[in-house]
């Protein structure tokens, strides 16, 4: 606490997987935290990668979060590697693509519809 009965609240950010995932305002000094200058809005740092003292854009990791058999039904992305809950893919993979045994993704085979008999 500061003199005169006031708290001076400082701002800190904290990392998960090397990426800012939380910020905190406190009059103390929490562990595992990086101090943020008062002029900086810490919410703008959320999702940024901390590297060599700088905050840079973090790469997105794409992954399949829903499947039916070997067919992709849902795709998600995150900057936090530990939040990945399924096979990692790239941003080109689409729903209904097929994952093979090696973990590669490809569009489903397309066949012509059979003509209906009159």
């Amino acid at each position: 606490m500061g003199s005169g009965g006031v708290f001076i609240m400082n701002k800190y950010v904290q990392l998960k997987d090397g990426v800012v995932f939380a910020f905190i305002e406190t009059d103390g000094v929490p562990e595992n935290s990086i101090f943020v200058e008062p002029s900086v809005d810490p919410t703008t740092l959320l999702g940024k990668k901390y590297q060599d003292g700088n905050f840079i854009d973090a790469p997105l990791t794409y992954f399949v979060d829903r499947m039916s058999g070997n067919m992709v039904l849902g795709i998600n992305s995150t900057v936090f590697v530990s939040d990945v809950t399924g096979p990692i893919c790239d941003e080109t993979v689409q729903p209904f693509w097929i994952m093979d045994e090696a973990g590669n993704f490809a569009p489903p085979p397309v066949s012509e519809p059979e003509p209906l008999e009159e």
Partner: protein, 133 residues
């Protein structure tokens, strides 16, 4: 602090409680994902935590049998439908959906105090920790 002054948090000033048993400290912040947040140590017997989910998650799914009526009445593509065949997916048509029921699971997030210096966030949320003297 508590009884004598104010909290200064950025441009916000919080008047402190007067008399004994006032607010000793306030900490607040944001989590963008699930994980542990380290805070300045508090007395857990004199602290409460509140949080607000600012993210959501969940699933929507179809139960029972879903029927698909192809658009138009013709065949061989002339009737206005197309399909894609996959190894484990019979066919996908453009057309009218009927039957079946849907179920939605919605998730909201928050934090809880795990120990004197640790908040556990279950997902994206805003939070505030207030400790009393």
């Amino acid at each position: 602090m508590g009884s004598r002054g104010v909290f200064i948090m950025g441009s916000t000033v919080f008047p402190a409680a007067s008399g004994g048993g006032g607010v000793k400290s306030i900490q607040r912040g944001t989590a963008a994902s699930a994980g542990n947040i380290t805070i300045t140590a508090v007395d857990t017997t004199k602290t409460f935590v509140r949080s607000f989910s600012n993210g959501s998650g969940g699933t929507a799914r179809i139960n029972n049998t879903l029927t698909i009526s192809p658009t138009g009445g013709g065949g061989g593509g002339a009737g206005g439908y197309s399909y894609v065949t996959g190894s484990s997916w019979p066919s996908a048509y453009t057309g009218t959906l009927g039957g079946g029921t849907t179920a939605i699971t919605a998730e909201t997030y928050g934090v809880y105090l795990s120990n004197a210096t640790t908040l556990v966030a279950t997902g994206a949320c805003l939070w505030e920790v207030v400790e009393f003297s």
